[in-house]
Symmetry: C2
């Protein structure tokens, strides 16, 4: 009855459904579900906007709408079905009620409210359960959800558009546009799938970006945040327009905080409390934000994925603080020479000290190339986390 | 009788044969030839080491060895057949003697000794001739030969291995190895197909490279050259080992020249004679080599393709002198921050001033990615040159 090739075949269909709602269900994971009976797909579903139905319920509804039944079927889900009352009733109950013979899911849901209980509930109801089909492919779709549940921080990628020699802007700051329209639209795709777009105060000053999603259609705008240690942001900055922007600061300034609240911005005080070698040596004591604490704060409010689009200073600080999972680099076919770099990092003495990334995707986008590279250690860690037994 | 799809089909086979001798026939072009009769390939050939037979002769010999005939056949050649006595007799004579019904070639040979005369000789012998099948694909195989014949300079690519942020070495000079074994082997492939590997005196001092081909098999080592304005090279430098290395200098030093002749190195005096704004402004008057003249000198001795493997200073100078046709960048999945860049270039004021390149190939090599980008203007120019009528 269980055929591994067939399981992979249908699980990939479920994964494609999850992939189809990348922008939608945050803070919930993107999940896809396919109901297969007698070798035919009887229903399909994917998680909806938060508060709406999960993938399993959508798929079972689809079965009914098709005038079919899930009784005796095999149900493929890209994540362990939930068994707790959240904003919606548990999916496990809906599955049991539909009386399938077998449920296949890719990996356990590390949410402590689930974490194997979904599987046990199904088995106790006499349903055969198979776990581990396309587990890494499923993780690729929800790295942020898994990261938040298991590490207490979001999955963070750093986006940069640079020349072949790694320059993101001319020395005079000109950066519009190094890459072309296709790369920019793709950058907006990554903004759209993130929960929050994060930048630094330097970028706000230099480029005054909106950081909204405009070049792709999305049912949901990501939130925005600025790392602003001195709380020096101009209340007219475009990134504050529309409200809801979070400002992470190391400066207590009630007046400024109130003025920013007037434009709908929230100020969060997260000072770096550890002694910072470089700033103490230089004699300057500029306030610094605790970047790891920023990430923990974002995870606590439900952020799965963070899209960082900042300058070399902030990029370097985030890399050094161990906040970056992935590099998303758009490379334009030009050499600039003098100019701004991707990340300001302290000089290495040995090449072996450089943090190890690995290329996971290379794509041509119009005249440009997109290179995705992932932190090997951080990904291995996430992979371990979904193999809980 | 003439079928365009079929012409492309067989021409691609001939191109593959030319591709198979990339390292071999320099300074002659790489040419492939396929003899097709009644829909069957009767013979194949490619140009041999200089002085050896050309592709057409190899293919006709192959026909005979197969106990077949080329009479009435269609013969596909990736370049217009030669009609002059060089080191070997004209291929056109051999073709006419073989009595084919038709000869198809990709583009004219811009060699002033040929340049359409090959076609005319064939037509005068009553052979039908078709020109222009896969012309750009053929140019891809012999850009250097075409460049030397039409522009009087070789086709030059600049090879660099860099991190994602465009660093080729740490600030302390460490660069072994940013990229992995596959990328290094591929780099040697590009050395092997070139006529001369060129570097700067800075790289000789820092890395003391041999610049020979070692990681791929080759029947022919490329020549080596060093741009050494002050003629300051150490006579024990590894790049001089084995002899035959050319040193381009702007310094007359008979003693040093004689000492270098002892280790088999040739010194060529090519001083920059134009007033150089930057050096006169800085008050220093370091001797400079006329890089364009270097390229002309190399072309005159028969060099088709030049592989540049140098530091940021030399790379920047070559780019600014308009010597570079192609960038061959190996990118490693790491960020280095502070370090050496790919090319030292003067700061641009507008992005639109940056010379336009276009990506022509993206390949994954082990853990690294190879990006090839070509100067749009220079390639368009070469393309025009082969469409002479």
């Amino acid at each position: 009855m269980s055929n591994p090739d067939q399981d992979v075949f249908y699980m990939r269909q479920a994964l494609a459904l999850a992939q189809g709602v990348l922008y939608l269900p945050s803070p919930n994971p993107r999940v896809g579900c396919v109901v297969v009976r007698n070798g035919e797909v009887h229903g399909r579903g994917a998680t909806q906007l938060v508060g709406g139905p999960h993938a399993e319920v959508m798929a079972l509804r689809d079965v009914l709408q098709n005038g079919l039944t899930a009784e005796g079927a095999t149900i493929y889900v890209t994540l362990e079905p939930c068994c707790h009352h959240g904003r919606t009733p548990p999916c496990v109950d809906a599955l049991i009620a539909a009386k399938p013979a077998r449920v296949v899911f890719s990996h356990f849901d590390p949410n402590p409210n689930v974490a194997g209980r979904g599987m046990r509930a199904l088995r106790e109801a006499g349903i055969q359960v198979t776990v581990g089909v396309c587990a890494e492919e499923a993780l690729e779709i929800n790295p942020g959800f898994i990261s938040r549940m298991t590490r207490g921080v979001p999955y963070v990628w750093l986006k940069a558009a640079a020349s072949l020699d790694g320059r993101t802007a001319l020395s005079n700051g000109e950066s519009q546009w190094i890459t072309g329209a296709e790369a920019r639209a793709d950058g907006h795709h990554w903004r759209a799938r993130s929960c929050t777009v994060v930048t630094g105060i330097g970028t706000v000053r230099t480029d005054n970006p909106q950081l909204t999603v405009r070049h792709v259609e999305t049912p949901r705008q990501p939130r925005r945040a600025v790392i602003d240690p001195g709380l020096s942001i101009d209340a007219n900055a475009l990134v504050l327009k529309g409200g809801g922007t979070t400002l992470f600061t190391a400066t207590k300034d009630t007046d400024k905080t109130l003025r920013l609240a007037d434009v709908g911005a929230e100020v969060v005080y997260v000072p770096e409390t550890k002694l910072v070698a470089s700033s103490s040596l230089s004699g300057k004591s500029r306030p610094r934000v605790d970047l790891l604490e920023v990430m923990r704060w974002l995870a606590k409010r439900g952020d799965n994925e963070i899209h960082v689009e900042a300058g070399s200073g902030m990029n370097g600080a985030l890399l050094q603080a161990g906040c970056i999972d992935e590099l998303l680099i758009y490379t334009a076919p030009m050499l600039i020479g003098e100019g701004m770099g991707i990340a300001k990092l302290p000089g290495l003495h040995k090449l072996s000290q450089a943090p190890r990334f690995e290329f996971i995707d290379v794509a041509r986008l119009g005249a440009d190339v997109r290179l995705r590279a992932r932190s090997v250690a951080r990904w291995q860690d996430l992979l371990k986390k979904i193999h809980l037994n």
